[in-house]
């Protein structure tokens, strides 16, 4: 089975960058295909509570893109899908795509009756493991497509069958199998994005051992109304409402032992997250421990705005040790106060590690058509007709990602036109 044509653009990854490339190219009149490995589109942005510097909800922008997709017949998308092979050359690539089974078909209305009867639970990766879903679940409450998905790894299958029985629409099919399709496309844009760096690898920062040490991506979910705590910033150990938070910058980034690159967004993200705390709890305090505050260009205004709040402090010095007070569960951080002199041992309700962005492709077995740099970001120009955008290419914030994604749409179009 072969679909598509040499005049179309394949976009690998359906996060904000991939969506942007696909939509922009489609609106310029070109066929685009999005291949997304998650059961939903939107990527990491879907998991954010607010954008910096405008502090507006990211889902707003995603919804606009979803509407553009729905309205545009030139865009098709595959969720739960991966690229298995690329051959050919610019203007005429043959691509193999594996579509993994959702076990839920088009008839799903997301009424949720299936999840109610499902007896099995699984860790909810959308909330970074801070809560659970049933084995059959809606990825998140604004999912696009708005359809349930079944996690076959934990589902007990036919022996249970409760969801199948309860579904009025015959939407659940436990026998669904993965299939592979072949496709011809003119150009390919990789927008595979990033994953949060595994914080357990930094053994001195206590993540995974000190219960009230979380990562910045977890903080987004804690603050989000759709998150595990319904938007209340409560700490993991005892559910206590958090009043004091330490932000530990460069947790993994700019570190040869972890991520050698600067992740570019963490300083702004921590300043932003300080507002999550400050807007909820009046006498709350946030301290940001940094090596350098990197808020380039216009972002300097954001730094000035946030640090004008006297309850948001910035201290120069990298936190390199976090231990737990065993009686209270409070994390205690140790840092050298470079400007003030001497070491500080400070107690907080919670510590947020500003963990960096690791390219999703890093450490993965990638196709020969794709070349990675040592740090896992994509090497540009290895094979003409294949491009990369967003954090697959460089550590970008959302604004820069979308600008670059638009530019890559043009690159993809040029590859097609060159061929004709």
């Amino acid at each position: 089975m072969s679909e598509g044509k040499s005049g179309s653009i394949l976009v690998v990854g359906g996060g904000i960058s991939g969506l942007t490339t696909a939509v922009e190219a489609a609106e310029a009149g070109y066929e685009t295909i999005i291949v997304e490995k998650n059961p939903y589109l939107g990527g990491r942005v879907a998991q954010l509570y607010k954008y910096f510097p405008k502090l507006c909800p990211p889902y707003c922008g995603l919804e606009i893109n979803f509407r553009r997709i729905k309205q545009n017949p030139k865009i098709s998308y595959y969720t739960l899908s991966e690229i298995e092979g690329i051959s050919g050359s610019e203007g005429n690539f043959n691509v193999k795509i594996r579509i993994n089974p959702r076990y839920v078909n088009q008839k799903c209305t997301s009424c949720g009756e299936c999840a109610k009867v499902c007896p099995v639970e699984r860790s909810n990766e959308f909330n970074y493991g801070m809560d659970k879903t049933k084995a059959i679940y809606l990825p998140h409450e604004m999912s696009f497509p708005m359809k349930y998905v079944l996690d076959k790894k934990v589902c007990t299958g036919d022996s249970c069958n409760k969801c199948v029985e309860v579904c009025k629409y015959n939407a659940i099919d436990l026998s669904m199998e993965s299939k592979t399709i072949d496709m011809t496309v003119g150009s390919i844009v990789y927008a595979t994005g990033w994953k949060p760096y595994d914080a357990t690898k930094m053994d001195n920062l206590g993540f995974g051992k000190v219960k009230n040490v979380i990562t910045n991506v977890m903080m987004e979910r804690l603050a989000a109304p759709s998150g595990p705590t319904k938007g209340e910033i409560k700490r993991p150990s005892d559910g206590k409402l958090v009043k004091t938070v330490a932000f530990v910058q460069c947790a993994g980034s700019r570190d040869e032992n972890h991520l050698a690159h600067c992740s570019a967004i963490c300083c702004m993200a921590s300043l932003k997250q300080a507002t999550y705390l400050r807007e909820r709890v009046p006498d709350s305090k946030a301290v940001m421990y940094y090596i350098d505050l990197r808020t380039p260009g216009k972002y300097e205004d954001f730094l000035n705005k946030i640090s004008a709040d006297e309850n948001v402090k910035t201290v120069k010095g990298k936190v390199a040790k976090i231990v737990e007070d065993e009686t209270t569960g409070d994390p205690i951080i140790t840092v050298e106060d470079i400007l003030g002199g001497g070491k500080l041992n400070e107690r907080f309700d919670m510590v947020v590690l500003a963990t960096g962005m690791e390219p999703s492709l890093k450490g993965q077995a990638v196709l020969s058509a794709v070349a990675l740099q040592d740090n896992g970001f994509m090497e540009e120009g290895q094979l003409s007709g294949i491009y990369s955008t967003g954090v697959a290419k460089r550590p970008y914030d959302v604004t820069t990602s979308t600008q670059d994604a638009t530019a890559q749409a043009l690159k993809g179009i040029q590859s097609i036109l060159r061929r004709q």
Partner: protein, 388 residues
Amino acid sequence: MADETVFTPDVEFVRSLKEAGAETMKKCYQCATCSVVCELSTEKSPFPRREMLMAQWGLKEELVKDPNIWLCHNCNDCTKYCPRGARPGDVLGVLRQTVIMENAFPKFMGRIGSDHNYLVFAFGLPIMLFLVILGAFGHLHIPDGPVVFDHFFPVHLIDPIFISAAIISLLFFTVSIKNFWDGMNVNPYRLMANGRVIPYLYETLKEMILHTKFDKCGANKDRTLAHRLVVFGFIGLFITTNVAVFNMYVLGWHTPYHIDDPHILKLFGSEALVGLYYAGFKLVGNLSALALLAGAIIIFTNRTKPKGFVSVSSPFDWVFAIVILLLAITGILAEFLRVVDIAALAYPVYFLHLVFVFFIIAYLPYSKLAHIVYRTTAITYAKLAKVE
């Protein structure tokens, strides 16, 4: 502008640090991870972040008077966690060598004793000296009969050489340490350092013997055992050497020792007592030699085995490790060759052993061994000035 502080970077100094093995120091971007992961770093005056900056800027005068670089025991937790591969542990090792050279009296001895480029002179001096003396007294040949070292290099020749070398060395060392103390004892700590020295010195020595600080090391723990072996080996050998001096000059008991020596038998009363004394003396000496050898071997294997992070020993460190190893090997080998009576090898090996012993004694104020005194002085000062 009266309270303006002006730092004048010494570019030559920066270059010399890099050449001595601190070439990674410019990679440091001052995050202060090192100061926190270091178990020995103090709360009020953490290190080595500040020392890395001073080294980058070439602030020689500031560094030379900084007690912190001697509080460092080269555990290398800093190097392991350094996000930039700047290797603060190695840099501080080079800084210690620099302080030793800066305070050295006389200066040319500091160069000979601590700069590996002058090794030929460092070893040439005792070799020439010994050859001249042996030649002058008609001993420059392999003696006949069973191996008795006294027949080759008589004790009445060894003692004047080594005792005068030791005395000169100690005098020079005293001047060097006086320079060091005076350099350190300036504001802001000067006023605080007016307490009595002895209790702090006692506390420092106790810490050093018990290896209290060393035991706090995280990344490089195996070094503690090696260091203990070398320290106790040296202490044991120092004691044995002094007992040998005591035997000769006080008891009048000369080598080669005979248990049935009528003179010593009269002193002790019974052969059993003499035997016990002799066995104890030999046991301490041989065990100490083995401890030194074992320690030196562990130091070697530790430096060459992969640790999960890069740490490079400077030539200054290597030279001393090699000297200790050769000192132990030649000592034990000389004893073995004497017992099995191979004259042709025993005497040359003994000669070499004496060269290494001379190296240790004569260059004590300038070699890595100088750290015993520099470190004791600095830690005592830090305690006195309440830095620690």
